[in-house]
């Protein structure tokens, strides 16, 4: 599994599709739909309070999945409790995914930096 992270609008999806030679139809937004590229994990996490079982099941079906998630933790603590919980959940879920990913890539201004694994084909 590959985890691709970065701020909003940094070009994660475009880069992922280019590197892997995929087209946009292969990106989906829910693990239940079993997409090769799971895009916007942070949006799915808005309503998923206990995300790991569904993600485990997805990865069991698709061990070569590429998961894309916005980094959302680098701001002022939100006023709203549910926003705080969501932000924390996105961070913790990404820590868990990064620990078991073969490859972790961070995209900044469209430029990839490999944080973990052999990502020479990403550079």
């Amino acid at each position: 599994m590959t985890l691709v992270i970065g701020g909003a609008g940094q070009g994660k999806l475009a880069l992922t599709l280019r590197v892997l030679g995929l087209d946009p139809s292969q990106a989906g937004s829910a693990p239940e739909e079993n997409p090769p590229v799971l895009n916007h994990l942070e949006t799915w996490l808005k309503t998923e309070r206990d995300p790991l079982p569904a993600l485990e099941a997805y990865l069991a079906r698709r061990s070569d999945a590429v998961i894309l998630c916005d980094e959302v933790g680098c701001g002022v603590v939100p006023m709203d409790r549910s926003d705080r919980d969501w932000r924390e959940r996105v961070g913790r879920t990404c820590c868990t995914l990064a620990a078991r990913a073969e490859l972790v890539v961070r995209v900044y201004c469209g430029i990839p930096t490999v944080l973990k694994g052999d990502g020479t084909h990403w550079n």
Partner: protein, 173 residues
Amino acid sequence: MLLFITGGSGSGKSAYAEDRVTASGLTDRVYIATMEPFGAEAAARIARHRAMRAGKGFKTFECPRNLEALPVPPGCAALLEDLTNLFANEWFGVSPEGAAERVLRGLEALRTRAALTVVVGNDLFADGLPYDADTLRYLRALAHLHQKVAAMADGVYEVVCGIPICHRKEAEL
């Protein structure tokens, strides 16, 4: 030796900071807690961090403000968690005037006594949202403090998804 470790919410920065302390080989370990336990959410956060530290041999010092006067044992490994709370307590609880200087004096005193000082900071500077003038003033002062702490630190690390990104590498301890 001073290490400055930053990251966003839920980035794994605390776990990495603890690892750096336990990996140092220093056995006299001090945890400097800065959060005032107001409300259930703060209590839950404190309980979570306590559970993470359990069995790692940390002695806890409560220090919501006035770090300069904290009598940590000489030669210890000190983990300060975190810069953001300490600064907020000095800024909102004492006075914005001189808040950064008080924190910096405290860090200087701490690093002088401790063999290893690990400071955890929260990256609050990249949400692009508009805030009122008072909040912006506070954020700007905190960001400036981060620059000062990074400048005095031997090593500077940003933790992303539990993975440390090195911005400055310290010499061997």
